[in-house]
């Protein structure tokens, strides 16, 4: 029982949850989307600075649980510097990791990135928390597509 909890709340998640990285609103961001989970009231704004198809900066602000905050924080670290296409692919792979017991092969994603994505995959054992883990990723994806909001109702 407690093993599952430790799997969900790994040290790195507790750390990102308490001290989120890129928790700011960049001056030069040109895309943004709100991610909202009406069930628990978690709410994040994700800001992207997208230039020539590359995510030059990504940051977020808002309020959420340890899982959603850590996931948002780690998302910003993983997505920065990627092309929009790569960012979308990461989102897809991450979503699979969080929801499926045997996710599709991840193709050409490097091991280090994969390892970071895997950190959150403990949520699989806690289905109601999957929406927490994917909230900021959905908002990032919405921002990439120029949409204003991502609601966890649609996840």
């Amino acid at each position: 029982m407690m093993d599952d909890l430790r799997e969900l709340y790994q040290e790195v998640i507790l750390d990102h949850g308490k001290h989120p990285r890129n928790f700011r609103h960049p001056d030069d961001s040109n895309r943004e989307a709100k991610g909202e989970n009406p069930m628990c009231g978690d709410r994040f704004m994700v800001y992207l600075t997208l230039k020539d198809g590359v995510v030059e900066d990504v940051a977020f602000q808002g309020r959420g649980c340890a899982i959603s905050t850590a996931s948002a924080s780690m998302m910003t670290e993983l997505v920065r510097g990627r092309t929009a296409e790569e960012a979308e692919k990461l989102f897809h792979v991450f979503h699979e990791l969080c929801t499926k017991d045997d996710p599709e092969p991840h193709g050409d994603i490097d091991d280090e990135t994969m390892e970071k994505l895997m950190v959150m995959s403990g949520v699989r054992q806690f289905p109601v928390r999957v929406k927490c883990a994917t909230l900021a990723w959905h908002a990032m994806d919405a921002a990439l597509h120029g949409e204003a909001t991502a609601s966890s109702d649609q996840f």
């Binding site: 029982m1 407690m2 599952d4 909890l5 969900l8 709340y9 507790l14 308490k18 069930m39 628990c40 009231g41 978690d42 309020r63 959420g64 649980c65 340890a66 899982i67 959603s68 905050t69 806690f126 109601v128 928390r129 927490c132």
Partner: protein, 420 residues
């Protein structure tokens, strides 16, 4: 009738034996036993005693049929049992008679019925409806729908920092423009019991009808709709240890008979032709279609159950739990209880410094403790106390002090986990 009730003292262990689900454990894994269930989410929905389950099963096995139609034996039998519950509900609320009792799908539908039928008929642009900050969304959104349609104005009574209904502010909000007051009788988040009688008296001085949302109040105390002089009173069966899919609307008959139907269909008409249809008198007028017949039988058994235990005895037991749990939780560093009104119901919402309620909920669940986390369908209230989501432990007639201890221990484990 359960043997437990023959005892003068409240024997909670024997009460628990009436609820089969309370014997189960949760999170059992291969080779590892689970944790005993500590169910502290009765405010969301209460568990069902064997007496309710058996009454519904027996009815389905022996007496089931559609009601109010057909001359055959079972139809008569089922109709008699169904209507006997209406009479029982009337007595339960001390309503003057059973013609004032309308069965609906839920409290939510009962409020929507009043908003749609009474509201659309009698409210005009600029008329005001007074709600309170403590309302469940079920008593906010139906009025907002009416607001969009009729351009009525919604006024909101605040509460103080303890969660006490602000009677003075309410007085100031009442005016010639006020056409309806709709407030909770017991907050599902704070536990606050509102001063229903005073609220109704002040409104009636101006001839304004009052609706009370009694979804929580009927569970934790005795409600007398004539004493508080409610014009409308709603509650739901599933929080009262009865089945889901069934709510009750009490309405003063003079009001009900002036109200047009809410939905059209069978069972609510006198005669139908394409030249025009005439409607039955209340309550039938508001009960279009086949009602949840078996669920009504279940509600009857639930009312029998709580009345046999004694509503005062239940309230005393729950008060003891509330007092004890409040005391124990107050000793946890960094824990803030939201809602400390005197005389409140056995509902404790709290925030834990540095830990999000969703994380609290997941971790205490691993210890078998079932609580609600979130904003409890009362977002404006969460804003009022500037807490966002909270953790809510709600106690029922089957809970024990040991379960309150289990809650506190699991919250301490959360703190250790997060180093909070």
């Amino acid at each position: 009738m359960p043997d437990a009730i023959l005892n003068q003292a409240y024997d909670v262990q024997r009460v628990r034996d009436d609820f089969p689900i309370l014997a189960r454990s949760v999170h059992a894994r291969k080779g590892k036993p689970g944790k005993p269930l500590v169910y502290l989410d009765s405010g969301a929905s209460a568990q069902k005693p064997r007496q309710v389950i058996q009454a519904m099963t027996r009815f389905l096995e022996e007496d089931y049929s559609n009601i109010h139609r057909g001359v055959h034996f079972l139809s008569q039998t089922a109709t008699d049992q169904f209507e006997a519950v209406r009479t029982k509900v009337a007595r339960f609320l001390n309503a003057p008679n059973d013609r004032c009792i309308v069965f609906t799908r839920s409290s939510t539908e009962a409020i929507n019925l009043v908003a749609a039928s009474y509201g659309r008929t009698f409210l005009r642009e600029g008329d005001e409806v007074i709600l309170s900050i403590m309302e469940h969304h079920a008593n906010i959104v139906p009025w907002q729908l009416l607001q969009a349609e009729k351009k009525i104005v919604i006024k909101v009574v605040p509460c103080d920092d303890d969660g006490v209904f602000d009677l003075n502010a309410y007085k100031d909000l009442l005016s010639d423009r006020t056409k309806l007051v709709a407030v909770t009788h017991c907050s599902n988040v704070l536990g606050t019991v509102t001063p229903a009688k005073a609220i109704a008296t002040l409104a009636h001085e101006r001839g304004i009808p009052v609706l009370f949302d009694g979804s929580q109040a009927v569970v934790h105390g005795t409600v007398d709709v004539q004493d508080i002089d409610a014009d409308f009173y709603v509650f739901t069966a599933h929080k009262l240890y009865g089945p889901t899919g069934l709510g009750v609307l009490y309405g003063k008959y003079d009001l009900l008979k002036r109200m047009p139907p809410y939905q059209g269909g069978g069972d609510m008409i006198e005669s139908v032709s394409f030249d025009g249809t005439t409607f039955k008198a209340p309550p039938s007028r508001f009960e279009a279609g086949t009602p949840p017949i078996t669920e009504v039988i279940g509600l009857g058994a639930a009312i029998d159950y709580v009345e046999a235990l004694g509503r005062d005895a239940i309230a005393a037991h729950e008060h003891d739990l509330l007092h004890y749990a409040t005391q124990q939780l107050s000793q946890v560093d960094g824990l803030r209880i939201i809602g400390t009104a005197p005389g409140k119901g056995p509902i404790i919402s709290f925030a834990l410094e540095g830990v999000h309620p969703h994380d609290v909920g997941t971790i205490v669940d691993q210890y078998g403790v079932a609580v609600r986390v979130g904003r409890h369908c009362a977002e404006p209230l969460a804003e009022r106390f500037d807490v966002g989501p909270t953790v809510r432990a709600s106690f029922g007639l089957y809970n024990t002090r040991e379960e309150a201890d289990a809650l506190v221990a699991s919250v301490q484990a959360v703190k250790e986990f997060f180093g909070a």
